[in-house]
């Protein structure tokens, strides 16, 4: 028991000392000033083609670009469950954002990015367990991106048979462990969830005590386990604008769940990535 404390102690101290403020990460994404703070769990939700992954690239760029060039100079961990991550796209974005997009500079930025791909919810769970050491060893690694949390939904549902508990078991364990990681290592977690189902006409089920106004006009139907629903601090809904007259092609509706604050913003996607 004593050895356990000795093991955690220095790691935590190093983290507290090395912690930098991330409130300039992307203020437009948040309803409240000063967000995000360490310990926040932000969910990106939307249908296909609404800009969620582009927004993640934008966040990565914001993090890995050094302070001298206007970025935050922090390390990022990207967990890819869809084999969706496009390195070449990220490089294009970095090239466009750096004053001198030389190979050296790009590699230096990319050196702050860690990537891992998981092929099942069980492997995701085991990988999260093994990542714990990485967070201890890298105190400046404080942003965790997960694309996407819903990737295994149908496979898990099928494997779990008739029992909802079994179906949700892996994701519940992942959610619980993610919460532990976020709290213990003072991380900020951004996770995407895909709109896999159409909202039912009369959704009597509501996992939140109050029916927030955004839920009626966005196509949102919560389907992931309660453990996840309850740990989310901000939910950002992505949608694509259909009218061609509008130059800003995408919209985000960002909700601070505990304070019940909502804000709506538009962005477009150019060669250099997301632009608000």
């Amino acid at each position: 028991v004593c050895s356990l404390f000795v093991r955690v102690g220095p790691c935590l101290l190093a983290r507290l000392e090395g912690r930098s403020s991330l409130k300039n990460l992307e203020p437009y994404l948040f309803a409240e000033e000063g967000s995000p703070v360490h310990g926040d769990v932000i969910e990106f939700h939307g249908t296909e083609g609404t800009g969620k992954t582009e927004m993640l690239y934008h966040l990565i760029a914001r993090c890995v670009i050094p302070k001298a060039e206007g970025g935050l100079g922090v390390e990022v961990m990207f967990v890819d469950t869809d084999y969706h991550f496009d390195m070449l796209r990220l490089v294009t974005i970095l090239e466009n954002r750096l004053a001198q997009g030389t190979e050296e500079m790009i590699k230096q930025c990319l050196g702050r990015l860690f990537l891992v791909s998981c092929s099942s919810s069980t492997q995701l769970l085991l990988t999260l367990y093994s990542l714990e050491n990485l967070f201890c060893a890298h105190p400046s690694l404080c942003v965790l991106l997960l694309d996407s949390l819903s990737a295994f939904y149908w496979i898990d549902r099928s494997n779990g048979g008739e029992s909802l508990t079994l179906q949700e078991m892996n994701l519940k364990k992942c959610a619980n462990f993610l919460e532990k990681l976020v709290t213990q290592h003072h991380l900020i977690l951004f996770a995407t969830t895909q709109t896999l189902m159409q909202k039912s006409a009369n959704s009597a089920e509501s996992f939140l005590p109050l029916k927030l106004p955004h839920e009626t006009d966005t196509d949102y139907r919560p389907y992931l386990c309660k453990s996840w629903q309850q740990m989310v601090t901000h939910r950002v809904f992505f949608s694509k604008q259909c009218n061609s007259g509008n130059s800003k092609g995408f919209t985000v509706v960002s909700c601070h769940l505990k304070r019940n604050q909502i804000v709506k913003r538009s962005f477009s996607v150019a060669e250099c990535g997301v632009q608000f």
């Binding site: 496009d86 390195m87 590699k107 990319l110 990015l113 099942s120 093994s130 496979i155 099928s158 896999l196």
Partner: protein
Amino acid sequence: MVWRSVLFSLPVEMVVLRAGLCPGLTEDMIQLLRANGIRTVVDFVSSDLEDVAQKCSLSYKALVAVRRVLLAQFSAFPANGADLYEELKSSTAILPTGSPSLDQLLDSGLYTGEVTELMGAPGSGKTQVCLGIAASVSLGLKQHVLFLDSTGGFTASRLYQILQAQTEDEEEQLEALQRIQVVRVFHIYEVLSALQELRDRLSQQVLSSTGPLKMVLLDSVSAVIYPLLGGRQSEGLALMMQLSRELKTLAREFSLAVVVTNQVTRDSSTGPLKPALGRSWSFVPSTRVLLESKEGSWEKGTSHRAASLAKSPRQPTGIQVQLDIGNGDVLEPSLVTPTQGL
């Protein structure tokens, strides 16, 4: 990544703890753990080891050591962005489709490591475009192609025609034909089986007689998935997601370009065309091209089509080009362009 899939082909959920699975895991330990309800790798790794040490009278240090080794064996290993970029620069290739205007739409061609979807109504030319791609990759790049035909639409004579239009050398034509492997698949399990066989072949590739394979075409994915949907919903969807996983991991791990064809549907009679197979499938391909007959072309036998970009990781959507899926558009194939920091 490749060796991992060969050695641990059992899904990690099913791996039961047994002696010798990793150093330090003895038979005695296994029995004690089993007596306390810990059977699988996941059970072990999720448990509170202090608790387990007390209940099973095992050394805490020994348990921690075993946990570390098990995690190293079964979890995915993080890569550094800079290293991954280096790797991708040398392994990613852009394959020409055989049609310069389609290449333009796709930002030079089909990228390896990705799944590209061609969607369109029946008769819109999806199979023709696939044949053109197979011919281009086989003849022009001298790379092997796997063509999974689930509709019976593949015709060797048409493929031969396309090859003949590109080269007069009969020997070259024959060699190109030999590099294209066609497998008729009419059920999802046949598709999965063919992909598994491909995976085994590629994993063991040292001096392979089949040669380097860069392209997998599945024409069409909707034909094998449609029969699964409806009814016990989640099982069919789970199989569909399993197929999409297989296609994507093959593309990534072995630097292949995967092309799938799909039907189209619309929400209402005036709504926009969207890919069939529902929302979950829509997230799968990185690039999506819509093939349509040109408006007003009611004459029979016209080979003109419009291709528009519906989804792309690198180009703005909505751009459109004209295609001629008859012999006319099949021009000289261009060489592979390795990517060097886009």
